[in-house]
């Protein structure tokens, strides 16, 4: 991890803290305030539209009111004709209507008054049938005055708005030029703070703020706000008009059925929104500036006593304990730290003195001990040398003992044929003496033939026994040569094993134990047959001495097979008592024996192991189960390493 200077850390910490706090507060202000501003804007839009509606209603209400006295008069029983003057006055002086007419219950126009300058002739309008007119039908069905949509006036042929109300059974309709009302509403809308559009109930343009000349020519029903208004739903919270965000609001004029839609600018065009955003941004920058200005000053102030302490501790670390300590400062923890350091320094001084004394005594003792230790070491060395020499002697004497055993075996084995040969020859000599004595007496043919026969039989016995002896000697000679000469040669494994087994037979002959061979011919090794023979001899002896100890039967089985990577696996099984697991680890160690004092020197397996690994270049492993027997496995390379 990267390490920082305390000064940098403090400045960063202070600046970051200020910044993060400012960001959190700013974000909180924005997330709480901005939606409020939007809601306020929507509310203001609606309010503005409602005010416009009220103004417009007030205005058209005034026009409508002019018809009310007339309606009262017309509702009185009696002929309508006297009302003509009232109608004329209303149209000529009232200043609102272009035409006023009264239609009877079946929709036929009975009285008409036209404004001055009107090109039509009142008389031509009498009797016109209004029964199919939407306005007429609407008035018939309503107790209240009714305003029409913009329509094509049959009176003027111009677009007009009509207002109609009941006058008893008759209906009075006043027509106002559409442009007149539109102009007034246009004047109202011009005074509002926000853009306004006024649409009739079919969403066709009536008045409002115009941006181009397209407003008149489109139908507005598909605009989101107007769509919502026509469906009686609340307006969408924001709309985008000509790339600007607006918060729309609308209100209906109940008399005219018109939609007044306004939009309060949203986003940065809205002053409250803009001010809030600017305020937050300035606060943010202000916080950063204050943080950046104050942080170094504060850090410097915090650092001064700490720096003094650090200098002191540097000096203490350098071993200088006498120094002025800083005066107590404003930070309690630092003062405590100073005091503690002071105490610690004193304690260190005391302990250092004590340690110096102890050290002085210690060096002497170390010198004494070192001398004693080197003496002991020398003695140990001598002992080890002795032991090694002893081990060498023992190995040598073990080998000699083995050789002795071998010689004893050989002597015994030779004893029989040579004894037989000797017996035969001494018998022959006896026969010859007898024959010579008999020859002096005169030989009979029968005696002569008997002698010949005896000589033949005896020589035959002698020759056979001497041949046997010669055979044995040849065999022993080979073994002796191999075992003593460490000679390397190519040999067939089966032959060597056979020779060893033959050589071991005499010593096993008087025991109940047997050796089985299962070594296939043709496994040729270029190795040291002497060493191999010694190993086999040791393993067989080991089985007899340890495996079969105290048993009345036992079989040793020798197997061999070719193994991968130019090796031969040779296994010596016995079905003896086995070796406990804890001993298996140690049986190849020198002087490890279970028969200490009973003649075993504990070197047999050690010698075998050394011969296999060092001379034959192979491995020797043991696996054994108590009660089931033991297997020694030799893995030998077909070509032994050269020494």
């Amino acid at each position: 991890m990267r390490a920082w200077r305390l000064r940098t850390s403090l400045i960063l910490l202070l600046a970051l803290t200020t910044l993060v706090a400012a960001i959190i507060v700013g974000a909180a202000i924005l997330t709480i305030r901005l939606p409020q501003i939007q809601q306020e804007a929507s509310a203001r839009a609606k309010e503005s539209a409602t005010q416009l509606v009220q103004l417009t209603e007030y205005f058209v209400g005034g026009i409508e009111a002019q018809l009310v006295p007339l309606a009262h008069l017309a509702a009185q029983p009696g002929p309508l004709a006297p009302l003509q003057t009232h109608l004329d006055t209303l149209v000529q002086k009232g200043g609102s209507f272009d035409a006023v007419y009264i239609a009877n219950g079946s929709g036929l126009v009975k009285l008409v008054a036209l404004s001055p300058g009107h090109r039509g002739k009142p008389s031509e309008l009498l009797g016109a049938d209004l029964s199919a007119k939407t306005l007429y039908r609407a008035v018939r069905q309503s107790a209240q005055p009714v305003w029409s949509d913009k329509y094509l006036s049959i009176i003027s042929g111009e677009l007009a708005f009509g207002v109609g109300l009941h006058a008893g059974d008759s209906i009075i309709i006043g027509e106002v030029r559409a442009q007149r009302i539109v102009d007034i509403v246009q004047a109202f809308t011009a005074q509002t703070q926000y853009p306004v559009i006024v649409l009739d109930s079919r969403a066709e343009w009536i008045a409002g703020d115009r941006e181009g000349n397209g407003e008149l020519t489109i139908n507005w029903a598909d605009r989101p706000t107007i769509h919502a208004a026509l469906a009686g739903q609340p307006p969408p919270p924001t709309v985008s008009i000509a790339g600007r965000t607006m918060h729309p609001g609308y209100a209906f004029s109940p008399r005219l059925g018109w939609i007044f839609a306004t939009g309060v600018p949203g986003g940065m065009a809205n002053p409250a929104y803009r001010n809030t955003v600017i305020f937050v941004i300035f606060s943010l920058f202000g916080a950063i500036a204050v943080g950046l200005l104050l942080a170094p000053l504060w850090a410097a102030r915090m650092l001064r006593p700490i720096k003094a302490l650090i200098e002191n501790s540097h000096r203490i670390a350098a071993g200088n304990y006498t120094q002025p300590w800083p005066r107590p400062g404003p930070v309690i923890e630092l003062n405590e730290l100073t005091d503690d350091l002071k105490r610690m320094t004193e304690a260190i001084q005391l302990r250092e003195d004590a340690i110096r004394d102890i050290n002085a005594g210690l060096e002497e003792r170390v010198a004494e001990r070192t001398e004693a230790l080197s003496q002991a070491n020398g003695e140990l060395d001598a002992t080890v040398q002795n032991l090694k020499a002893t081990q060498g002697h023992l190995v040598q004497s073990e080998k000699l003992a083995a050789l002795g055993n071998l010689v004893a075996g050989v002597a015994h084995e030779l004893n029989t044929p040579i004894g037989n040969g000797l017996l035969a020859m001494s018998t022959l000599a006896g026969r010859l003496a007898e024959f010579n004595a008999a020859r002096a007496d005169g030989l009979r043919r029968a005696d002569f033939e008997t002698f010949i026969e005896q000589v033949g039989a005896t020589s035959d016995i002698a020759i056979r026994n001497l041949n046997r002896a010669a055979e044995l000697i040849g065999s022993f000679k080979q073994v002796a040569v191999d075992q003593t000469s460490a000679q390397r040669r190519k040999f067939d494994l089966a032959e060597v094993v056979d020779e060893i087994v033959v050589m071991m037979q005499p010593s096993l002959k008087r025991t109940p134990y047997r050796i089985e061979e299962a070594v296939p011919a043709g496994l040729v090794l270029d190795s040291y047959p002497g060493a191999l023979g010694q190993v086999l001899t040791n393993l067989i002896n080991n089985a007899v001495l340890h495996g079969f100890a105290g048993r009345d039967h036992g079989t040793i089985r020798i197997e061999a097979a070719a193994a991968p990577s130019d090796c031969v696996r040779l296994m010596v099984h016995d079905d003896g008592c086995g070796i406990p697991a804890e001993r298996q680890q140690r049986i190849f160690d020198p002087f490890f024996t279970t028969r200490l004092g009973q003649g075993g020197a504990g070197l047999g397996l050690h010698i075998s192991h050394t011969a296999v690994t060092h001379i034959l270049g192979g491995t020797l492993e043991v696996s054994s189960r108590v009660g089931a027997g033991t297997v020694f496995t030799l893995l030998l390379p077909t070509s032994a390493p050269t020494h």
């Binding site: 016109a128 029964s131 199919a132 329509y151 094509l152 049959i154 042929g157 677009l159 020519t217 139908n219």
Partner: protein
């Protein structure tokens, strides 16, 4: 802080993937003052056709935008409106609706190389001309012939005509064609009286002059308002003869303005309001839902005109729009299948209707 909106706009242009530029189609009609109802009805029809095209993904992926211009019923504004539409880069103009406006607009559009497809101009003077002006409605000649034959067939022989000079191109055309056919059939035009709509001519005088010729039928070549006034004057003066009107007057307003006065009134028109074909019913429902009104003949004609133009644009390829319009037919209109002839004029079925119980009823 004035830079904020600019920054915002810049960001928008940087991040937003710009949609394909819209294909602009002009619409020219009188949308204010007298005749605004006709203009609005036409505009609504054209809007529905454009909406339908956009709902199907526009023309080759480009959305269609209808630029609507009001000629404010004046010749100067007509010229200005056509020039403005050309400057805005429209590929064609749907309109105008009146023959008198077409007289002003067609030369301007021709000079600008702009195709105009009129839903309702019928005057014969535009017929058989190899120009950029296309018409979806039959010429007056066809309508007049049909009307004259129908009136002769019902037994009328002496007809008096009143016609409005305010739309002279249309009305004199009607008058002359009607006279020619009716007289060929063996009938007689006993009087022709002219008047100018909106000027201080009393309807009563006009009707009186007609009455003096003792006709057995009255033909009013006028708009809806004037036609209603003339009929009422005739009835007021005791003239009970059958009254005949022209396509111009056959609007929804006629029924509302006329009330019972116009019962039995005969009028030739371009479409059948009682059509129950699914195509037309769907159109009428959409129209009602969008504009809260019944569609008029101009709505239907403007829809057909716009749809044909869009179809031609879709199939234009490397041709000029004029060639495409001539080659892409026949077109499936709302009520019939139709085509342009080589002069860009259409022959459409005309319906002779009679007002019965406040409704137009097709009589043949």
């Amino acid at each position: 802080m004035k830079t904020w909106p600019w920054l915002f706009a810049l960001l928008l242009t940087l991040t937003a993937c710009a949609p394909p530029e819209p294909l602009k189609l002009g619409f020219l009609a009188g949308l204010s003052g007298r005749g605004a109802d006709l203009g609005t009805a036409g505009r609504n029809g054209a809007l529905l056709a454009v909406d339908a095209a956009n709902a199907q993904g526009g023309i080759h992926g480009r959305p269609v935008e209808l630029l609507v211009r009001d000629n404010e019923q004046s010749a100067e504004m007509t010229v200005a409106a056509v020039e403005k539409l050309a400057a805005d880069g429209v590929v064609a103009i749907i309109g105008p609706l009146l023959s008198s406006v077409a007289q002003t607009a067609v030369p301007v559009a021709d000079k600008l190389g702009l195709v105009m497809v009129s839903p309702s101009v019928t005057a014969s003077e535009f017929a058989n001309k190899d120009d950029l002006f296309f018409r979806v409605a039959s010429t007056t000649q066809d309508n007049t012939r049909r009307s004259a034959e129908a009136q002769y067939a019902r037994g009328l022989r002496r007809i008096a005509i009143a016609y409005d000079l305010a739309n002279r191109a249309y009305t004199t055309d009607w008058k002359n064609e009607f006279r020619q056919v009716f007289e060929q059939l063996g009938g007689q035009i006993v009087a022709t009286v002219e008047f100018t709509s909106g000027q201080d001519t009393g309807y009563a005088d006009v009707v009186r002059q007609l009455g003096q010729a003792r006709p057995d039928g009255l033909l009013f070549i006028a708009n809806a308002v004037d036609t209603v006034h003339l009929i009422r004057q005739a009835r007021n003066q005791g003239l009970a003869q059958p009254v005949i009107g022209v396509t111009w007057a056959a609007t929804e307003q006629l029924l509302e303005l006329g009330g019972r006065t116009i019962e039995g009134f005969h009028v030739t028109q371009f479409f059948n309001r009682d059509d129950s074909s699914p195509r037309y019913v769907a159109f009428r429902e959409a129209y009602r839902a969008r504009f809260r009104q019944e569609p008029g003949f101009v709505s239907v004609a403007a829809y057909d005109a716009t749809q044909a133009t869009l179809e031609a644009l879709r199939r234009q390829g490397k041709q000029s729009l004029k060639q495409a319009l001539l080659a892409s037919g026949p077109y499936q209109g709302l009520q019939d299948e139709w085509n342009f002839d080589r002069f860009g004029d259409a022959r459409r079925r005309a319906y002779v209707t009679e007002v019965r119980n406040g409704r137009f009823v097709v009589t043949d």
